[in-house]
Symmetry: C2
Subunit: 596 residues, 2 copies
Amino acid sequence: MSTYHAPLTDIRFALHDVLQVEPLFASLGFEDAGRETLDAVLDECARLCETVLAPLNRIGDEVGVSFDKATGAVTTPTGFKDAYDQFVEGGWTGISAPVEFGGMGLPHGIGICLEEMIDAANLAWSNFPLLSHGAVNALHHHGEDWQKDVFLKPLIAGTWTGTMCLTEPQCGTDLGLLKTRAEPQADGSYAITGTKIFITAGEHDLTDNIIHLVLARLPDAPEGSRGISLFIVPKMQVGRDGSVGTRNAVRCGAVEHKMGIHGSATCVMNFDGAQGYLIGHPHKGLMAMFTMMNTARLGVGIQGLGLATRAYENALRYARERLQSRALSGAKLPSKPADPILVQPDVRRMLLTCKALTEGGRLLAYHAGSLVDSAAHAQDPLARKQADDLLGFLTPIVKGCLTEWGNECTYHALQCYGGHGYIAEHGMEQLARDARITTLYEGTTGIQALDLMGRKTMQLQGAGLRVFLGMIETFCTTHAEDVALAEFVVPLRAKAAEWQQLTRSIAERAAADPEEIGAAAHDYLFFSGYVALAYWWARSVAVAEASARPETFKAGKRETARFYFTRILPRTLGHAAAIASGPASLLSIPDDALDS
Amino acid sequence: MSTYHAPLTDIRFALHDVLQVEPLFASLGFEDAGRETLDAVLDECARLCETVLAPLNRIGDEVGVSFDKATGAVTTPTGFKDAYDQFVEGGWTGISAPVEFGGMGLPHGIGICLEEMIDAANLAWSNFPLLSHGAVNALHHHGEDWQKDVFLKPLIAGTWTGTMCLTEPQCGTDLGLLKTRAEPQADGSYAITGTKIFITAGEHDLTDNIIHLVLARLPDAPEGSRGISLFIVPKMQVGRDGSVGTRNAVRCGAVEHKMGIHGSATCVMNFDGAQGYLIGHPHKGLMAMFTMMNTARLGVGIQGLGLATRAYENALRYARERLQSRALSGAKLPSKPADPILVQPDVRRMLLTCKALTEGGRLLAYHAGSLVDSAAHAQDPLARKQADDLLGFLTPIVKGCLTEWGNECTYHALQCYGGHGYIAEHGMEQLARDARITTLYEGTTGIQALDLMGRKTMQLQGAGLRVFLGMIETFCTTHAEDVALAEFVVPLRAKAAEWQQLTRSIAERAAADPEEIGAAAHDYLFFSGYVALAYWWARSVAVAEASARPETFKAGKRETARFYFTRILPRTLGHAAAIASGPASLLSIPDDALDS
């Protein structure tokens, strides 16, 4: 079985040393988010993840959720409910929720660290509380006062959970195609009818009520995505006074059999005239949904990170323990029958790839998490706008790159085990299967790439990119005379300039041919991700060297950064070449010439 | 459920148009391998794969093999035995086996095409007959006359199957660590005692007998890999006269629970003084085993190819059918509610990657398959040696690259389905799980890379590479004046020169530091694979353009080649940069600095 020990050393390095969140949070008005509090929260969450959630990871995979067709009931794997109860008792469901509704009001920038640990410990389980965040956000930003009063407290307390009901059989990416209907009723409520699929935590036995946020069309709705409204549809009817009534006409029709996250209930939900309340304005549901979706996308990026860290921990231990063959330069442990496979350069290549992508990815994600707080609470309006621009720009990078890297790292980690990686009992193949969902839900990688390239770069004229390039420039200027950092600062500055130039040239070509955007998007996403990580790695070395951390820690950062700059960053060469080839290489082939 | 239609058009293009196997096979003395015969064999095998094997693929995954702990018996999924019986009746088990022992004596170069279809149709099932090939090869090359007489006929007829028993709990890659013992008996046989793991088809209900080829140590064996001998250990005892006796002391102790190929029996085999016969010379078992292993490695490369072709077929169909969103340059099907996702450049990028890697990979693999025949049967001794050198050089490339590309293509194909790809009923996730074994068994990708870099390039002084570079040079010279091919010929010639230069520089550095070999191996493997594919793509275009094939076919080859040269071949830039960084970027980090 795979183990999990929260990488608290690196989490703290990222939070405190590099991002310096204590003064940041203080400047944003978070009075109770001092270092001592944050560290205590991290420790306590790590304990819960390591001792309660992680041990349930394998049974969740083996047993999965079970579905009773006769009643529509879903039973979670043994132990899931008990763990959920402990989670609720500890107040974890409301950790970064508003205090006025019972939350702890801690910054999102700390909530994201907790998510990393929870996802790594048990991704399938994490999906039950996760979706409530989105519902809380949407209600908090768009709900009427009575809706906030009635629904927010139990969602934040965790006694109810939430869902996001978007997808239908004929529409996933393209929500404009959705068919679910909402008929106004005499009492001001709506009758919701339709079928939703892929509803995470759509039905389960962890709480008494489940609050579905459902996209549907009003009778007078315009066609397409401009005619979609958002509704609150509780499993057990809830009155405007908060009273819980009888069972609503919404029911789980099936649970999907999936490649992984077997312990997560992925439901077909049938709404058959179910009572619902409109949230926000008619036909403006998509905008409210995007409020939920952006945080959810950061959250899924973190899922990729979490799984990668757990895979790396186990592969590193295995590589130290497994004795097989000798180093090519001569035996390293002559007294043993063979050397540990850790001496093999190719095994180190796989492990260092994991270390470079996870530790660098952690900074990328945590920084984005802290921008959620800055965008909401920075005193200076310009600072708020810059944080918001940058957050919008980074969100598809965090989601797109960290989930793909999560797949890559779980792949490498499994590979380090050789044939043993393929066997269920080691747990590595579960991590790989679980990771595979992350590039699909909450918008595929292709959708993230289009969001980054089309909306966040072209439409918004690179506002977010400019902020990030400014950060890189400041860093490079500050360390321009530092000889020890030159091996990082010089290529980083060059890559940043190339990034800017590349963006400009795509924009110019896209003005003549809009297909340029789609043709460049994927490679632009990864080019961006790798340059962003180069920045965080360079900064990590600078911060580590200037710190009082042990020499081993400093060497770990320095040598991993060297590995990153010499062996990972060159991937940008291939991406730049692909971008330069434009749309012709993708679109010229006739559709009927694609068959083999 | 995923479908399978054998890509016979491209298979024939590869075999007849590009590789021109008819005159080749004739020159090698295969009298009955004319085009008509070969095409009939391809058609008939395709029919069997599409109608018998492919429909069993999903049930094999869902049900898996079952194991009776009390008796040690293994039951294959429903339908597997019936399909096996049809396979045996059709004579498919002996298709390229020697005629004198009941085989059909067709070239290996055609057998490899059949393997592709069988693997694509049902990888788990294919493993039952597959391993017999290795046993047949080892017996044919190293067995005594009575061993050939007794064992070859039933193995070739398929009434018995074979296994390769190498791995033990403490030894996989490093066979020098193996512990299984062989005690000489008074009757000239040996008593074999030990535990073997990961034994494919180690126990099953398809045939009455199973012939294990087992690596073990004689009492006087030197330590390490120089003290390993090979033994024949039948499940049911077999006398020197061919008589079948009682049950031998070998028994399946467990069946592994795996990520995929659930229908394949991966067994723990316990030998408890089982009767065995020495095959070949004492202490020379490893050499005999390598005879089996090289063909098995080509076979596993083909598994990666087969799964990729099936994944591509399904993703292409889905991309044509799934309506979602509009093309960025305006609606392509304005009468429909949305455009098929095939119009999206990013979906085409994923599909074209599959097409480029599978059709190019097919030529790489089929060419290697035909070299098995040339190396054995070419009349000119120099031609035999060149074929053998090139085959040795290409074998790790076929195994290493085609299995990794098989994983990449099944990944892309699943991704084309969006969230639906994660759901079992579409069958895409099974293809991805099944593909994952191919980079692990018969030597991991890292082992292939070391074989290519260390043994096939350094020790043999690049003999195989020189032959391949000669083929490229001949092609480029022949087409030097062809303006229409210049876009391929010019960069191909440049990449070939870079390949040669890269090899030389690694060799020079390795003379000073042997760790250079391990540090460069992975990236050298893929650099080599991508340049090799560039050659096959350039040649495919040249051959297609000169042929009487329809314009659509020619456009398919030309545009896919353009895609390959502009969007895939640039991956070599990153590999070259990684190689240039040498071992320091992998070895400098202290082991205890690796933790996060």
